[in-house]
C-alpha cells in the first residue's frame, strides 16, 4: 500500500486561533481535516476560495480556516454564499453547516440552493443534535433518541438530507462518517470538482451531548457504531427497506451534472446584450 501523501494541513489553518472550542471526542475536527485535505488535493487556491458557515458548533470551523471566511447568521450560510457566488462566479464557495443549521432554520435555503444547482459545495457536519446550545433535538435526531428537549424520547421523524437535496435538484450528493475519514475526503474532493450544487453529509459523533444522553459511550465507541451501521451504496442497492432500517448508506449517492446557476445567468447577460 502506497504511503499516503503528506498533506500540509497547518498551511490551511489560522494557527493563532487554535486550540478550537470543540469538546473532547467531537468529530468536527476529523470532518474539518477531511475538508482541508480535499481542498489540498483538488488544488483550490487559498486566495480564491471563500468558506461560509452559519451558527453552531460546526460553523465555528470558518474561524479556524485561513481563507476569506464568513461566519453568518443561524441557518443562512447558503443564502449569504449564494450572494457571493452570483456576485463573483470566479470564486470557489464552500459552505460548512450543521444539521440544525441546514435542516431547520436553513431548510428553505438548502432546497433552493439545490434547486438552482448553484456552484457551491455544502458540507453538513451532522451530529444529530444541537451541540452549541447543549443538546436539544434537531431535525436529524433519530426517532426515540433522547435530547434535553426530548426527555421522554424524540417523536419526530428525521430528515434524510441526501434524499432531500437530490430530490430538490443537487447535481452531486454523497455521505460518509468520521470513521470513514479518507472516504469523506474523497467525496468532498469530488463535490468540489462538480460544477453545480454539491451536498456532502458528514456523519459526526457528539459524545458530549448526543452520546452521553443516549448512553452510546465515548467517541471511540460511537465511531465503532458508525462502522457497524454503515453500508456502502453499492451494497445498499440490493438490500430491502427493512434491512436498511437504522443503517447509514455511505458513498457517492447521486451525481448527475446539469447546468450551473451562475453559468445559466451568463446566458441571461448575453441575451440582454451585456458583457461580463
Amino acid at each position: 500500500m502506497a504511503a499516503a501523501e503528506k498533506v500540509p494541513v497547518k498551511r490551511y489553518l489560522r494557527l493563532a486561533k487554535l486550540p478550537h472550542i470543540w469538546c473532547p471526542g467531537c468529530g468536527h475536527g476529523i470532518a474539518l481535516q477531511a475538508l482541508i485535505r480535499a481542498i489540498h488535493s483538488t488544488g483550490l487556491s487559498q486566495d480564491n476560495t471563500v468558506i461560509v458557515s452559519g451558527i453552531g458548533c460546526s460553523s465555528r470551523a470558518s474561524g479556524y480556516l485561513d481563507f476569506d471566511t464568513l461566519h453568518t447568521t443561524h441557518g443562512r450560510a447558503l443564502a449569504f454564499a449564494t450572494g457571493i457566488k452570483v456576485a463573483n462566479p470566479d470564486l470557489n464557495v464552500v459552505v460548512i453547516t450543521g444539521d440544525g443549521d441546514a435542516a431547520a432554520i436553513g431548510g428553505n435555503h438548502l432546497i433552493h440552493a439545490a434547486r438552482r444547482n448553484i456552484g457551491i459545495t455544502c458540507v453538513c457536519f451532522n451530529n444529530t443534535i444541537y451541540g452549541m446550545t447543549s443538546g436539544q433535538y434537531s431535525p436529524l435526531t433519530p426517532t426515540d433518541a433522547y435530547a434535553t428537549t426530548a426527555p421522554y424520547g424524540n417523536i419526530d421523524t428525521p430528515f434524510d438530507l441526501c434524499e432531500l437535496t437530490k430530490a430538490a435538484g443537487a447535481s452531486y450528493v454523497a455521505r460518509a462518517t468520521t470513521y470513514h475519514a479518507r472516504l469523506l475526503e474523497k467525496l468532498i474532493a469530488k463535490g468540489l470538482q462538480n460544477d453545480g450544487f454539491s451536498f456532502i453529509e458528514a456523519v459526526v459523533q457528539c459524545p458530549t451531548y448526543f452520546g452521553r444522553k443516549n448512553k452510546l459511550g465515548d467517541a471511540f465507541r460511537m465511531m465503532k457504531l458508525m462502522q457497524e451501521r454503515s453500508v456502502p451504496v453499492s451494497k445498499a442497492a440490493a438490500m430491502t427497506a427493512e434491512e436498511l432500517a437504522g443503517k447509514i448508506v455511505i458513498g457517492e449517492l447521486w451525481h448527475r451534472p446539469r447546468p450551473e446557476y451562475t453559468k445559466a445567468y451568463d446566458a441571461v447577460i448575453a441575451k440582454a446584450g451585456g458583457g461580463r
Binding site: 471563500v50 476569506d68 471566511t69 443564502a79 449569504f80 449564494t82 457571493i84 452570483v86 433552493h112 445567468y265
Partner: protein, 383 residues
C-alpha cells in the same frame, strides 16, 4: 453595448420605484437580490431587466431573509448591492440587516412602506415603519434612513444611499412610501457624468499588514473584498480589528460604541433637510416623504390666507439631528406634525421642540394619504 443610463438630461415620465432603480444603477449597483412584495415589486422587475444589460446580476431569492443575506454576500464579494421590500419583508430582513451593521457591509435596503401592522393593506400608503427603520434590529447601533418626497428625489436619494453606504460601510435604508413608490411624474434626471459616485475605500497595505477591521481616523474601517488575497474573517459576533470574535470587555465596548459614533460623529455630512418659509413663521409644519407634498400645499394655502407658517422637511430621517431640528423649531408657537402613523416622528419632535412649543399631531392610519385640507385645518386651529 447598450448603456444602462438613461439619456442625459431628458425629461422622462417615470414612477418612484423606477427612479430608485435608475438612481441605484447610476450609483453603481450591479447586484440585486429580492423577494416580491407590494408595493415595491416594480423595483425588482426593473432591476431584473436592466442589470444584465451591463453585466450586473439579479436573483429572485426564496425569501426576504435570504435576499438580505445574499446582498451582504455580494457586497463582500465587491459588488454594490441592493434589495427592496415593504413592511413585513423589512421585518424579516432585520436580523441580517443587523449583521450588515455589525460586519460593516455596505448595501442599500429600500422599504416602500405600506399600511400595517402585519399584512395590513398591501396597496395603501403608510409611514408606519419609521421606528422600525431606526430600531428594527436588535442591540445598539445607529441607522441611516433617507426619505424621498418626489420621484426625482427618489432617484437622487438612491444615489446618495449608495454613497453613504460605501462611505460609512453600513446598510443604508431608503425609506420610501407607497405614495412616492407608485407616483408618476415628469423628472429631469442628471447626466451620469454630473453625479458624484462614492466607492468604498480598498486597502492600500498588502495582505499580512492590513487589519481587516482596523478603523480609520474617521472611525470607518477599510475592509477588503473577498478573493483579493487578504484571507480575513467576517462575523456577526463582536470582533476586534482582525475580524476575529472577542469578548474582551474593552474591545467589545469600543466596537459596539463605534457602530453608533461613526454615524453621529459625521451627522452634518449625513443630514439633509428642506426648510421653507420658516424665517418669520409662528407655526412650523414638520413633514416628510409623501406627506410632505400635502404639507407643502397646506403651507402655501395658509400663507395665502396670511398665516405665518413654514415647512421643515427632514430628508435624512435617521440620524435625527437634534440641534438642527431644535434650531428650526424653537420659539414657534406650535409645530404641526402630519404623519401616516400614530405619531412616530412626533415623539422625536416633542423631545427637542422645547417647552412653550406645542406639538400638534395629525395622524391618519386609514390607508389613505393625508390631504392638504386636513393639514391646513390643523394649522388654522393653532392660530
Amino acid at each position: 453595448m447598450p448603456s444602462l443610463a438613461l439619456p442625459a438630461r431628458r425629461k422622462v415620465l417615470m414612477q418612484g420605484n423606477e427612479a430608485i432603480v435608475e438612481g441605484a444603477i447610476a450609483a453603481g449597483m450591479r447586484f440585486y437580490a429580492g423577494y416580491p412584495i407590494t408595493p415595491s415589486t416594480e423595483i425588482a422587475e426593473l432591476a431584473s431587466e436592466k442589470l444584465p444589460r451591463d453585466g450586473g446580476r439579479f436573483v429572485q431569492m426564496e425569501d426576504e431573509i435570504a435576499s438580505m443575506a445574499a446582498v451582504v454576500g455580494a457586497s463582500l464579494a465587491g459588488r454594490k448591492a441592493m434589495t427592496a421590500t415593504s413592511g413585513p419583508g423589512f421585518s424579516l430582513k432585520q436580523e441580517n440587516l443587523g449583521y450588515a451593521l455589525t460586519a460593516e457591509v455596505p448595501c442599500v435596503v429600500v422599504n416602500v412602506q405600506r399600511q400595517g401592522p402585519s399584512t395590513g393593506l398591501p396597496t395603501s400608503p403608510s409611514q408606519g415603519d419609521v421606528m422600525q427603520a431606526r430600531y428594527g434590529s436588535h442591540g445598539d447601533y445607529a441607522a441611516i434612513a433617507l426619505c424621498p418626497a418626489s420621484v426625482g428625489e427618489a432617484y437622487r436619494l438612491a444615489v446618495r444611499a449608495f454613497n453613504l453606504a460605501e462611505r460609512f460601510r453600513m446598510p443604508v435604508i431608503l425609506l420610501a412610501d407607497e405614495i412616492i413608490g407608485h407616483l408618476r411624474e415628469s423628472v429631469e434626471l442628471p447626466d451620469p457624468s454630473e453625479l458624484t459616485v462614492v466607492d468604498r475605500a480598498r486597502p492600500t497595505l498588502p495582505p499580512g499588514e492590513h487589519k481587516a477591521y482596523r478603523p480609520g481616523p474617521d472611525g470607518v474601517p477599510v475592509v477588503p473584498d473577498f478573493g483579493t488575497g487578504y484571507r480575513f474573517h467576517v462575523t456577526g459576533l463582536i470582533h476586534g480589528e482582525d475580524g476575529s470574535p472577542t469578548s474582551n470587555p474593552k474591545v467589545v465596548e469600543q466596537a459596539v460604541r463605534r457602530l453608533t459614533t461613526k454615524v453621529t460623529d459625521h451627522i452634518d455630512e449625513i443630514y439633509e433637510a428642506e426648510e421653507r418659509d420658516l424665517a418669520d413663521a409662528d407655526v412650523a409644519v414638520f413633514a416628510y416623504g409623501g406627506t410632505a407634498r400635502a404639507a407643502r400645499r397646506a403651507v402655501r394655502e395658509a400663507r395665502a390666507k396670511g398665516l405665518k407658517v413654514g415647512l421643515y422637511r427632514p430628508i435624512t430621517l435617521w440620524p435625527f439631528h437634534d440641534e438642527r431640528v431644535r434650531a428650526a423649531l424653537q420659539g414657534r408657537r406650535a409645530v404641526v406634525v402630519p404623519e401616516l402613523n400614530l405619531g412616530q416622528m412626533a415623539r422625536e419632535v416633542e423631545r427637542v421642540a422645547g417647552a412653550g412649543t406645542k406639538v400638534v399631531r395629525v395622524n391618519k392610519v386609514s390607508g389613505e394619504p393625508l390631504t392638504p385640507g386636513e393639514i391646513l385645518a390643523a394649522i388654522e386651529e393653532v392660530f
